[in-house]
């Protein structure tokens, strides 16, 4: 059934960049993932907003898909939570059937299939990031509409617009874990300083072959902000 009033062909510069329906909660947000030497670094802000009300200031947008694969969610909170649950379910089945860990590109592909085939009803911009034994650390950006792009670093959410220049300028291949974490925190802090739909704290997740590590930086200890 086609909804006449809703389309995923939404205008990112409008006041409703994700084409959210009235009352729908958005993770209007800043999300960022980049590989480093030995794994991937994921980062996100912690604000969930409904219009200009912050419904949550300590949200966790870093969502488990499998032991070494996580996704970062932007767009509709409901849509992205539902899709992530489905992909997590698929991946757990695959793990049992194949007897080995799923590949990051498999997770990205599954996510892309759902977003693409429901492109008119979903508001979801998701970054799939993880590590697998075949290709190591990888990052895939599944943008609204369902394009799946393998990238050297992935940005998403409303706040990402403000940090394309910063990331283009400062990203380099083969960073260390500490360099990657510092850059992720810095970039997300800059985005939070300018984007009203992003805010709160910065959560990071480090995914390596050995395991995963969470980190959280409170809102009064950010490396940058507020603006001048």
């Amino acid at each position: 059934m086609m909804s006449a009033s809703h389309s995923s062909m939404v205008n990112p510069m409008s006041s409703n960049p994700y084409g959210l329906k009235e009352g729908e909660v958005s993770t209007g947000t800043t999300i960022l993932a980049m590989p480093f030497d030995g794994g991937v670094m994921l980062g996100a802000d912690t604000r969930t907003s409904m219009g200009s009300y912050a419904t949550s200031r300590s949200t966790d947008k870093i969502t488990f898909l499998s032991d070494h694969i996580f996704c970062l969610r932007s767009g509709s909170a409901a849509d992205t939570q539902a899709i992530s649950d489905i992909v997590k379910h698929y991946l757990s089945h695959l793990t049992i059937e194949t007897g080995r860990e799923p590949l990051v590109k498999t997770a990205a592909h599954l996510m892309k299939n759902i977003v693409y085939s429901n492109k008119d009803s979903l508001s979801a911009g998701v970054i799939i990031a993880g590590w697998d034994p075949v290709e190591g650390g990888q990052v895939f950006n599944v943008v609204q509409g369902g394009s799946c792009l393998k990238q050297s670093f992935a940005l998403g959410g409303s706040g990402s617009l403000f940090i394309y220049g910063l990331m283009d300028s400062e990203f380099k291949e083969g960073m260390t874990q500490d360099e990657a974490r510092a850059l992720v925190k810095k970039a997300i802090s800059h985005a939070m300083a300018r984007d009203g739909s992003s805010g709160g704290m910065v959560r990071t997740m480090t995914v390596t072959a050995e395991g995963n590590k969470r980190d959280v930086t409170p809102g009064n200890e950010l490396p940058f902000g507020p603006v001048f």
């Binding site: 006041s15 209007g28 912690t46 604000r47 907003s49 219009g51 200009s52 009300y53 912050a54 200031r57 300590s58 966790d60 870093i62 969502t63 488990f64 032991d67 070494h68 409303s158 403000f162 300083a193 300018r194 984007d195 009203g196 739909s197 805010g199 709160g200 704290m201 997740m205 480090t206 390596t208 050995e210 395991g211 995963n212 590590k213 969470r214 959280v216 409170p218 809102g219 009064n220 507020p226 603006v227 001048f228």
Partner: protein, 249 residues
Amino acid sequence: MWGMNHHHRSSAPADPKSHTTRPIVTGASVLGVKYNGGVMLAADTLLSYGSMAKTMNASRLMEIDQTLIGASGEYSDFQAIQEMLEAKSLQMQSGLLQEREGDEPPMTARSMWNYLRVVMYHRRNKMNPLWNSVVVAGKDGATGEFFLGNVDRLGTTVEDNIMATGFGAYMGVPLLREKWRPDMDEGEARALLEDCMKVLYYRDCRAASRIQLAKVSADGVLISEPYELETSWAGSTDYIPLNTPLALP
């Protein structure tokens, strides 16, 4: 008749009329509270451009003739209101409109509030509003009492001991109502306003942590320099999300 020099506006090239149909550059909440000895306002220094934080050095609290005004909403309309009130004050001072004695300002806070009501309602009737909610605070004439009131873009007026615009009306007013007492001193008033501004910073996506305070007391008007609020993230960092498999120490 055509050919005669009437100099009617309608025969001149049409001016591009500007109507504020929606706000573009906006300020968030303004809060106000009367205390024992004066009245105090608070506002953050952020101007937003839609959801973008455009500048953090805007002053949304202004003094005109010993009365404070603060506004949320469209910033260009607030600047127009400032100019209009300053012009009105000069016009009244020149003595054309009234005989006055001494150093009393031409408008008390209450009369400035009423003048704004007239202006805002008039604009509303022309479907070209000044898109602001203006808080007026100051001395209420010779009585020594203090005044705190609000005028919105429809021309609605309210007068009370506590005042808040924007999101502050939803999230600040309950806190102000809970804590307000007529015998609050300046320090308590400041603490109460800061507490409300912190809550707004956490929960209003268009609010910021750099704020300004302004007060009117027997000593006159004072507008503070902007300063940062201390924010608390206790409890939020303790939240341990459920799904962290293979967690490394």
